[in-house]
Symmetry: C2
Subunit: 120 residues, 2 copies
DNA sequence: TATATTACCCACCAATTGTTAGGTACTATA
DNA sequence: TATAGTACCTAACAATTGGTGGGTAATATA
């Protein structure tokens, strides 16, 4: 997840959309491959970096770091660093992060339904 | 949106995730930049290709075509071609497509809330 | 002294997603 | 004959997203 070049057409299209459509806006924020899964684990309480990694079997450390940073920037999670060695960092949802619960629920319900339909 | 190389690590990670997490599964299906916006327009009734294009100011024809194809593959929309010249093609949501309504609603609500929080 | 532990960072690369700019077919109308 | 209209398609490119494999610090324990 490199820098976004704010001059690109991609960027301005996404921006224009996000301005008008809250659903498009929302999906640029929580649309990453791992975002919702991380949030759904955090819904049940704070977790350390290493704990999260174990819950997400295929994620690389780099990806987890990047996603957590992005979530932090968007104020969805709070990061707490304890001055210890070895280091200890805890992540937890903010209020707006917890507010994702109904979104996640709706997506899960729909996902289940859609999956049944297509697996047949 | 080219072919997905089904041998890639990306692909198998996404697959593994989708198997376990219906919310991750759902977001691979409706996570595209335009997907939800298209669906939210179709929630109010069937539309022709050209009508959709007018509603989505910045979309290119290619993108619209690709997105509609993907939605069709995923059985979210139905495509009806009328044998006329000039051609006439109509798109409408399937039942599982309409079932996205609560998802879109939840995302909109959350998006609005999040936007207020961060603009402030 | 060597190794383990934790939560990262970095450079480089592969894959996916989106855009640009050019087509096409076929009919109707000017 | 020239142009317009609709719903596409194609090749080539730009941008973003995700993965691989290496590294770091500082302390504790063997």
């Amino acid at each position: 997840m490199s820098e976004i070049k704010q001059t690109s057409t991609n960027f301005s299209n996404k921006n224009a959309l996000s301005d008008e459509c809250p659903e498009a806006y929302a999906s640029t924020i929580i649309g990453g491959q791992w975002t919702l899964v991380i949030c759904s684990w955090l819904l049940s309480g704070k977790l350390r970096f290493g704990e999260l990694r174990k819950k997400l079997p295929n994620i690389t450390e780099r990806m987890l770091t990047l996603q957590l940073r992005k979530l932090e920037e968007n104020m969805i999670i709070k990061r707490t660093v304890y001055a210890q060695v070895p280091p200890r960092v805890e992540y937890e949802l903010t209020p707006i992060g917890y507010a994702l619960k109904p979104v996640i629920k709706a997506l899960e319900d729909w996902g289940d339904r859609h999956k049944k339909l297509t697996n047949k």
